[in-house]
Structures are given as C-alpha cells and as structure tokens.
C-alpha cells in the first residue's frame, strides 16, 4: 500500500493504524533497498501541509520537517543560520538536495548526516507528533547514535525549531570528504559564535559529525572560547587534542579513526576562525 496523507494528523493516524514506512525525499529509504522491491506499506509525507515551509517566529525559526535541503539553502535566513545553509548545499548533490528533507536527515540518524552538526551548533530542537500528542526534544537528545533516535515508532518528526538567540552570531560549516560533490563526510564541523560588546566571544557552539556514533558538541572547548578573540591564531592553536578526545571515530573505507580526530581538530579551528570572521562582519 502507498498512502499519501495530506495532513499531519492523518499521517499520524495512518502510522498508528497501518504501521507503514515513512518516506519523504526517499534518499535513504530507496538506497537501503539495494535491489529489493519497494516495501509493501509506504506513507508518503510529501503532501502533508504542516511539514512544509520555514517560518520566522518571535522566539524561534520553525523549519517544517519536510523542507528540502534546496529550500533551506535558498531561504532568506538570519546569518547565524549560515552554517545550516552551507550544510544544505553540501548534502549529496543538487538532486539529493531537491529531494532530501531536514526531517529525514535527522530521523535517518547517519553518523555522517550533514544536517546534525549545524543544528547542534544552533541549539535546535525538534518536534515529534504522535497519537498521544506533541513533544519537543533538543536535537542532541533526539539523535542518540548510529541510526538510533528518540523517535517512538508511532511518532512523526514534524518540525525543527531554531531558537533566535544565536541568530545574530556568525556560523561556519566545513565538510571534509575524499572528493568534491556527492561524498559521505569523513568529518564535518559546525561552529556558531556570538560576539559580545567587548569584541570577544560571548557565546559559542561547536559540533563535530562523523567522528562518533552521533554528532557531538565540544563543551569544554565552547567554554574555553568564551571571552577570547581568536583573530590571528592558527587553527591548530585554537583546539587542543584534549578538546576532541571525547569523540570516538571509527576506521572505515573513508578514513582511519586517528585521521578523523586529527582532521576534526584542524577543521574545528578553521571553522572557529571562519565563524568569527562572519560574526564580526
């Protein structure tokens, strides 16, 4: 069966009653099939009105979970979301960006999901809707591990909420892959920095993806950055080995674990400098 609900409520009911597989952009559902036929029950979320659109509210920017990466990349958003928009332009290819959604990226929970570090670096939350109502979780509490989230089987991720308190900051997203375009990240980092009146860092968020089962924030580094001015520092001087020691990368076909740590350290330093330049612009 192939269901095409036009409202979130209808989708939630279908999921509860029929238990099908949710599909939006299809960029994870179909590749996972390899050469097997499509699953018998698919619930297509692309017609649900509530999942669409990006709205700038009083306290938060609400991005419908069905927003495609190309829509996010093209949207007119505050500069603090530049890292998220940069990530949107680095997801797969134009084709993937035209299909893949931010909600799907989160729910699929690949350790290399490009959307997660920028959302962590924006203190974003998500909204889950199920038969028993709505709940909100911070992204860091939602994405739990490799292909593991806090979504219950009967819930649908409906929106991403980005608090506006960081939006005036500068942000940067850096992705490292073994080629240009269509590449699964070896490691990627997102940084948001908010300048204080003294011209120094007043608030900092640093997140690293593809270097642990779920993307992680580097809390120790964030705390240490407060009150500093990174201008003039070399990337490697901004970040110590201890700052990235909490990451737990693996060896795989893309890179060794040791390399991922090494590269994460360098990239975080570069992203700090880039975000700071944007913050002061």
């Amino acid at each position: 069966m192939f269901w095409q609900p036009t409202s979130l409520q209808e989708a939630v009911r279908l999921l509860a009653d029929e238990g099908g597989i949710l599909v939006a952009g299809g960029t994870d559902v179909f590749p996972a099939l390899v050469d097997r036929p499509s699953p018998a029950g698919l619930i297509d979320l692309t017609r649900c009105a509530e999942l669409k659109g990006i709205a700038i509210g009083a306290d938060a920017i609400r991005i419908g979970a069905g927003s495609r990466w190309s829509e996010i990349a093209r949207a007119s958003l505050p500069r603090g979301l530049a890292a998220l928009q940069a990530a949107a332009r680095e997801v797969g290819s134009v084709q993937i960006q035209n299909s893949g959604t931010i909600g799907g990226n989160l729910c699929n929970a690949s350790p290399a999901a490009d959307g997660v570090p920028p959302l962590l670096a924006l203190d974003a939350a998500i909204e889950l809707v199920g038969p028993h109502g709505l709940r909100r979780l911070r992204v860091g509490d939602f994405v739990l591990g490799n292909r593991r989230t806090a979504r219950a089987a009967d819930e649908i991720l409906s929106a991403v909420l980005i608090p506006r308190r960081l939006e005036a900051g500068g942000s940067a997203f850096l992705k490292l892959g073994a080629r240009r375009y269509m590449v699964i990240s070896i490691v990627m980092v997102a940084v948001t920095l908010v300048p204080g009146p003294d011209g120094r860092i007043a608030d900092a968020r640093v997140a690293v993806g593809a270097a642990s089962a779920a993307a992680q924030r580097l809390g120790g580094l964030e705390a240490r950055l407060i009150g500093t001015d990174p201008v003039g520092s070399a990337p490697a001087d901004l970040v110590s080995a201890a700052d990235v020691a909490g990451l737990s990368p693996i060896d795989d076909v893309r890179a060794s674990a040791a390399y991922r740590l090494d590269a994460a350290r360098e990239l975080v330093g570069r992203a700090i400098l880039q975000a700071w330049e944007a913050a002061r612009a």
């Binding site: 084709q95 993937i96 240009r180 076909v253 590269a263 360098e266």
Partner: protein, 918 residues
C-alpha cells in the same frame, strides 16, 4: 488519502497522462518499464550516479529515489522531452554533440536534464555554477571538461567551431557520427529495447569469499514462487561449464559446482516473469553455505602451505612473465647512484555507469545475444562452447556500451541468458545491479611492485631490476596478459641497457582481476616514474631533462631489444612539456615561498609508453566495404564503439582512403552476422589495427572503382544516387550502378581487407618485437595540497601524446581528458576492498569537481604501420597521470607516496611521519 488508485494523473514531457503503476515503485523503473521512457538510465539505484535524473516540476531529482506516487499531479520531464520541456534543451543537445561531450553516452541524459534545469533558472551561467549543477551526475568517460564547455556553449552560442581544415577527412574534428541517439535518449544500451515477453534472470550469488555449498529443493522453491519459470544450475549448462577470455586459461564456471572461490560467484539463476523475479527475496533461496578460510591478498596466497585456489596452479601462481637483457648486477654496479622502492596499488573498479545487461533469444538452432560487450567474436566463441554448439550458431549483436574500459571484454550476463534462452526457448534478459557489477566483474589488478634503478652521474640510466606480483583473484581472466605486458613496459619509455623485469599473477579468493585500461602498466608506472624522479633529484638533475636524456628514440632498443625506427615520439612529448614545466615548477615554488597556511603546491611529470595491440600474438581486424547499387557505400565496421569513437574514426579513415566524403558512407556497426571480425576493443588497437584494415579496404575499393572507370590513381570519386562519377582533370566518367551485378552481400563492388600487426614471439628472456607500434606520452600535473588535512586538489594537467596521426583531434582530446580523470581516481581516491564498498558512495570516482582543466598537446610522429601513421591513445591517456600527481605531491611536500590511492588519511600520516608538517 489515496489507496492504490487505478491510475495516477501527471504531466509527462508536456502531455497530460494517466498511468497505472505501483505508486511505491521507483519512478525510474516505472518510466522505463511501464511508460517506455528508456532514455532515463539506471546506474546505481541509490542516488549515487545521477544517470536517472529527471525534472519534477522543473527541479532535477533522481528518479530512482522518487516513488512513482510522489509525482502524481506533477510535471515530469525526461531526456526525451527536454527539447520541448525546457528552454535550453535543444541548444544543450546540439552543444553536447558538437563538443564531443557524449562519449559512451550513458550519463548524457542525466547531464542534459541537470544542465537544462540549471540554464533555465540561471540568467548568467558561469563555470562554477555549471559544475555545481552537474556535481550529481557521474561520468566515467569524458573527464567532464567537454560537458562543462558544452553547457557554457549552450548558454551563449558561439559560431560553429569552424576550425581550419585542409580538406582531408583524416585530421578533422568530426563530431561523432553515432552521436545523435546519445543526446536524444534513444540510444539502446544493454538494458534497453527488450522484447515485451522477455523473461528476467537473476543470479544467486555467494555471500562468502570462499565456501562449500549445497543446493536444496530447487523444484519445490520454484513451485512455491509463482511466475518463476526455471531455476538453473551447473546441470543445466548444455556445453562446457567454463569460460575465459584467453582460451588456454579458461577456468571460470558459469555456475560454481560444490565450492565458490569469490564473493559474488554464481551458483544458480532464477528465471521468470519480470515482475515476479524482481519481487523475489533471494535470501530465501534454498542453498546452504559452509564458509571456508579464504585467501585474501597476496600474502595469504603466497604463504607457505597456503591452500590452492585452483588445484592445477601450484603456489597459487597463475603465470609468470619475464623480460631480461644484459647484466643487471653489472649495470647497477656501474651506476653512480641507485634508488629502490616498494609500491602497492589496490583493486580498482571500472565503474562504468552502465551495469552489465542484455537479453538473449533462441532463433531455431541459433542463439542471438544483444548485450553490452567489447569483444563480440570472443563472446560468440565462448558462448558456443558453453552451449555446446558451433560458433556460427551464435550471433552477438553488441548494444551501445555504457562504458567498458576493459571489463566488458569478459563475459558477464551472456552465459546466463544464453543458457536460459537456449533451454526455455523464450527471450531472457538480465541486468546487473550495481552491487552485483562491482562485486563480480573484473577489476584492475592490485600490484605489489619492487624496483631498483641505477644511473650514472651524468644522468644516463644503466639498469633496472623490477619484480611485481599482481593479485589476479580467483580466475585467470586477463591475468596472463598483465603478467606479460608489465615486464615489457617496466623500463618506461626510456633506454635501459641492463634490464630484468619479472611479474607473477597470483590467484586469491577475490573477484577476478582482468583488463582495465593499461593491463598493469599504470600500476607499474606508479613505481617506475616515481623512482625516476628520486633518481634524478638524487643526482641533482631536473626530472624532466633526465627523462628527455633517457627517452627512447628511433634508434635505441627497448627492453625487449626492439628498435622502433620511425614513430617513436617520446622525446617530442617530453620536449613539448618544457615551457609548461618551467612555468609550473616556478609557480609552485613561488607560491610555497610565500605560503603561510597549510596549502602547498607542486608540479610533477611522468612519461609513458604502451604497445598497441596484443603482445606478440596475432590480433587481426577485417573490414568490408561495399558499393551498393544505390550509390551508397556500406562500411562494415566491427570494432565495438564503447564511447572511444571507432564508429567515427574508422569511417574517417575509410572515407579518406576511398577518397569520398564521410556522408557517402552508411555505417554497419558491430554484429557477428554482419561485420567481419575486428577483434576486441582493447589494447589501444582499434584505431591502429582496424583503422589500418579500413585504410586497406578503402584503397582496394577505390582501386576497383577506378579500374571500372578506367581512370588513373588521382581521379576523384563522387557517389550519387544510383551512379558513381569518376572525374580526372576535365574527363568525367559516370558509372550507372543499376545495370551491374551484385555479390552475395548485395554490393556492386566490394573489398575486404585484413590487417594483423607484424610482431614476433618473445624468447625465453622476453626478447623480440612484441608490438608493431607504441604510443608515447607524458603528463604534467599541478596540484595543491592541504598539508594539515592531507587533501589534494589537482589544478591542471598538461598532457602530451604522440598519436602518430591525429585522425580526429576532438575525440582524442576526449580520450585524454577521460584518461586523466581515471588517473586522478587511481592516484587519489579509488580502491575496492572485497566485501566492502559495493556501491558508488563507498567506492568513489572523480566527480565534475575533481577533474581540472586538461591541456592536450598532440604530437604526430607517424607510425609507418598505422593508418595514415595513426596509433592508439585509449590506454596511453591514463598511464602517466597518477605518477605525475604523486611526483607533484613530492614536489610540494617532500612526501613520497608508495601506496595508492593517496587518500587524505594516508597523505596526512605520511606528512606527520616526515615531521615537518605535523
């Protein structure tokens, strides 16, 4: 809510329509199988290649990732509809054709659709924007440069490229004669154009590298699966359950018996109605596996007491090759400096965008196979053995080939569909999935190479001692060829007085390694060309000048003692690089002198030579050309065009030899019932060998026409409807063709000529004349390396190639640019690890963002044996790229990379090891 509606309404290529299909099925499958829009190609079913790109409401998406139901009510445009459905479609198609941007053409629909979406929404396109727009479509042939140029051309049409042209057909930048179907989506590849009633076959394959297996109740399983017509196993093979590209080494079964020797080897096949077979979950197939210890890698296979992959190959050595001359020990002792090194390369996947596909049907006591292939007559003979019938009972009709690069020389789908169609009497087709293609078809041999080179203080090479082991996988394929070719070529294109080169092909429990653009020579060049740099630098000599000093000339003998005479343009290739080299080295050094961050630049050079045709073996081509009663000339051109351009190049040669315009020719392309044997499309032999046969045939037909007209040798021939006009000075003779008798092929006059390149056998020391001609070349790579991350960006490649005579410079540039792209992959990112990376997101090939501008310099040092002096360039184009890049990395950083691919983690580890950049 929509609940399995009978039909979905949508707009397809501008036409409103209602289509009844499974809404959960992939749009790509519905478009192809139910609507008949076969211009949408399926390369990976995972969003990794972009070949299936279509527009949905004007935006490019992968049809393989889109559920059919999701496009209900929307507007879908496929390649078939881009002329009417987009503003730029028509201009794009014309530009792609004119620029030579379609080679094999399999990626062309995806490129066109992606480019049309970009141009339609971009008022002022630029190159960076074009690259972003095309970043989601993989091309394995072109190196992308001509595609990017074509898109920019389409945006701002320039005047036609009316290049200076001296009237000859040979030498002209003729756009491919078979190009139109490639840009309008009508080209038929292996998976296209099957008869409606064709049954589908899928293979049951081993999930283990090595295992014993027992088949269960096959008939019971079949009966429990409606729509499955047959289950085939080794017992169903009517003839010999064995095949192989080299008859004396044929060792690969169609279906394994009792034990599988590599992951992916087939043990059975299921055949049935298409939908039923597509829906099967083969995980439930009745087979019990007993995994056995597998020999993966050279060390395991060569260990003392290692099991034998094949019982008749002691020590797991399939074959050894050797070339030796002079006294290597004395030569090295006489050197003022020697350098040694050990190098390693991995399995490399061909990664053509068209997975293997085709269908077979039985016609009386004959079998016809329409499939993608590089070697129709070899297919014919091997299929005949498998079916136990005469070769003449097999007809091979090659479809268009969506990339080959060597792997489609070997059989893939053919024996399965042949056995099934022969047994069942119904058409049977098969399409490899991407994982199946990567898992089971041949790879580039991993090489482990050791080399010592010596030279005198003044830079003259004295000696080379080389040994190489190549992992040939579980079956022979082209392992013997690699083991024989590499020792011939391990000197590089240089004069080396004392020489010893030994190579072995080693059997392991991995996928068979076979032919891949260069037969082992690219791996060898990674070692040899890097050591030459080391040697030159150690002697305080300029690496380019060192190569020029030692380059083979017309007079100096090769490692096999062959003196090439005319057509040895190596020195000219290197000398052509001189100004570029000086500029590039200086630019890199200036950049580095002022660099404060982690970026460094480097420039490296590498040379190459490569013998055209089989090694010391007969490899004839035969061309038939005939004048039809209607005044048209039929060219029977049996060299399979896998994108490299033989349909165009051979026609140019024939037309030039005959002295008629290209438009007078009707092409009859490869088909074993219609075209004489032109051998296989490999070994860079088609332009040279088939081209020479075409020249001879063209001249013979010309002579026959002139004889009939009683005209002298310089008379002009003009073919008109039903007549031929022969003009000589003021005299004009008109031959009325209608009244003349025709031969059994229907020709008024015809010629058939064969050319077999003159070679001689190699003696026990590998001495002799293994090839009639060699192609030469040298690449200059300019790179930028991020030393903190170990990432390398290739900035520019300057490629000089001696092609003897450039029959079609447009197509040669395409070969060079495509070869460079594959060389970049070999150098920086490509390695297949058996059991892992059986898809195109773990196995990475260069995208449009990874291939820099390529400047091609053509040297024309005519080879007397070649047609109008021409020789091959297909494999030559790839060989020097990787070592040139590696030498550039060394120039930038001092790091010598001994294992490819030089992935960021390996480079970074190497730099940390050097100490300076940590």
């Amino acid at each position: 809510m929509l609940d399995q509606p009978a039909a979905f309404a949508l707009t397809l290529n501008g036409e409103p329509c209602r289509i009844a299909a499974d809404p959960g099925a992939r749009l790509s499958a519905v478009l192809r199988d139910q609507i008949g829009c076969e211009g949408t190609k399926i390369g990976c079913n995972a969003g990794d290649c972009g070949a299936c790109t279509v527009l949905v409401d004007g935006e490019p998406v992968c049809a393989c990732l889109t559920a059919f139901g999701q496009v209900a009510g929307r507007a879908v445009v496929t390649v078939e509809g881009i002329e009417a459905g987009t503003r730029s479609g028509a201009a794009l198609k014309a530009a792609m054709l004119a620029r030579g941007a379609a080679q094999c053409g399999i990626c062309t629909p995806g490129m066109l659709v992606s480019a049309a979406a970009y141009l339609d929404r971009t008022p002022v396109p630029d190159e960076a924007g074009v690259r972003d727009a095309l970043g989601g479509v993989l091309c394995r042939c072109t190196g992308y440069g001509k595609i990017v140029e074509a898109v920019l051309d389409a945006a701002a049409p320039k005047g036609a490229e009316a290049a200076a042209f001296d009237g000859g057909i040979v030498g002209r930048r003729v756009p491919r004669l078979d190009g139109v179907p490639k840009v309008d989506g009508t080209e038929r590849y292996g998976a296209d154009g099957w008869p409606a009633e064709t049954l589908l076959l899928r293979a049951v394959r081993s999930p283990h590298h090595r295992a014993r297996f027992t088949l269960g109740d096959l008939e019971g399983w079949r009966a429990a699966h409606p729509g499955v017509v047959a289950v085939l196993t080794t017992a169903d093979v009517p003839g010999r359950n064995l095949y192989g590209v080299i008859p004396a080494f044929a060792d690969q079964p169609v279906f394994a018996t009792g034990e599988v020797r590599f992951r992916g080897e087939a043990v059975a096949a299921v055949v049935g109605d298409r939908a039923a077979v597509e829906a099967l979950d083969l995980a439930g197939f009745p087979v019990a596996w007993e995994p056995l210890d597998a020999l993966i890698g050279l060390d395991a296979a060569l260990a003392d007491g290692a099991a034998l992959v094949q019982a008749n190959r002691p020590g797991n050595v399939l074959v050894r090759g050797r070339v030796a001359k002079g006294d290597v020990a004395a030569g090295l002792a006489a050197a003022d400096r020697t350098v040694s090194g050990q190098f390693a390369t991995g399995f490399v996947e061909h990664a053509y965008i068209e997975p293997e596909a085709g269908f077979a049907r039985r016609v009386g006591d004959r079998i016809e196979i329409a499939a993608c292939t590089q070697a129709p007559y070899m297919d014919r003979d091997d299929v005949a053995l498998v079916l136990g019938i005469a070769p003449e009972q097999v007809r091979i009709i090659p479809t268009a080939v969506g990339g080959g690069f060597g792997s489609k020389l070997d059989l893939s789908v053919q024996p399965f569909i042949a056995v099934a169609a022969w047994r069942l009497g119904r058409p049977v087709g098969m399409v490899y999935s991407r994982p199946e293609s990567i898992m089971t078809t041949t790879k580039r041999h991993p090489g482990r190479l050791a080399m010592t080179v010596g030279a005198t203080r003044d830079g003259r090479l004295t000696a080379i001692d080389f040994s190489g082991d190549f992992d040939t996988g579980a079956y022979a394929s082209w392992g013997p060829t690699v083991a024989n070719r590499v020792p011939v070529h391990a000197s590089g294109p240089y004069f080396v007085p004392d020489y010893r080169a030994e190579a072995r092909a080693i059997l392991t429990h991995s996928v068979p390694a076979g032919a891949f653009r260069g037969f082992g020579v690219p791996q060898m060049a990674v070692a040899q060309e890097q050591l030459f740099d080391e040697l030159a630098l150690g002697l305080g000599l300029d690496p380019l000048e060192f190569r020029i000093l030692n380059a083979l000339t017309a007079e100096t003998p090769t490692a096999t003692g062959q003196v090439l005479g005319a057509g040895a343009g190596m020195r000219a290739c290197l000398e052509a690089l001189r100004p570029h080299w000086a500029r590039a080295r200086a630019a890199a050094e200036t950049f580095n002198a002022t660099a404060s961050g982690s970026l460094r630049r480097g420039a490296g050079v590498a040379g190459m030579w490569y013998g055209c045709g089989n090694t010391s073996m007969s490899n004839p081509s035969t061309i038939r050309i005939g004048l039809k009663p209607d005044g048209r000339i039929a060219l029977h051109q049996g060299a399979v065009d896998i994108g490299q351009g033989s349909n165009t190049v051979i026609a140019q040669i024939a037309a030039e030899a005959l002295g008629v315009d290209l438009a007078a020719l009707d092409l009859v392309s490869a088909d074993t019932d219609l075209t004489p044997d032109c051998g296989k499309t490999s070994a860079s032999r088609q332009t040279f060998v088939t081209g020479r046969a075409a020249e001879l045939a063209g001249r013979a037909l010309r002579a026959a026409i002139l004889r009939l007209a009683n005209a002298g040798p310089d008379a002009a021939i003009v073919c008109g409807p039903g007549r031929v006009i022969v003009a000589e000075g003021e005299a004009r003779r008109e031959i009325d063709l209608a009244g003349l008798a025709v031969d059994r092929h229907g020709y008024v006059l015809a010629a058939e000529e064969t050319f077999d390149p003159p070679t001689s056998p190699l003696d026990a020391n590998g001495q002799g004349d293994p090839y009639a001609v060699y192609g030469f070349g040298a690449h200059l790579a300019e790179i930028e390396i991020d030393t903190a991350l170990g990432t390398v960006r290739v900035l520019h490649v300057t490629a000089a190639h001696d092609v003897g005579r450039a029959v079609n410079p447009l197509l040669i540039e395409g070969q060079v640019e495509g070869g460079v792209a594959q060389g970049i992959g070999l150098a920086l990112m490509e390695e297949f690890i058996p059991g892992r990376g059986e898809n195109l997101h773990d196995y990475l090939i260069p995208t449009v963002g990874d291939v820099p501008p390529v400047t091609t310099i053509l040297i024309e040092d005519g080879a007397p044996a070649g047609p109008f002096g021409a020789k091959g360039v297909g494999e030559q184009a790839l060989i020097p790229t990787a070592p040139a890049i590696l030498n550039a990395i060394h120039h930038a950083t001092g790091l010598r990379v001994t294992r490819v691919p030089a992935t960021p983690d390996r480079i970074r580890a190497g730099l940390v090891g050097l100490g300076g950049q940590a």
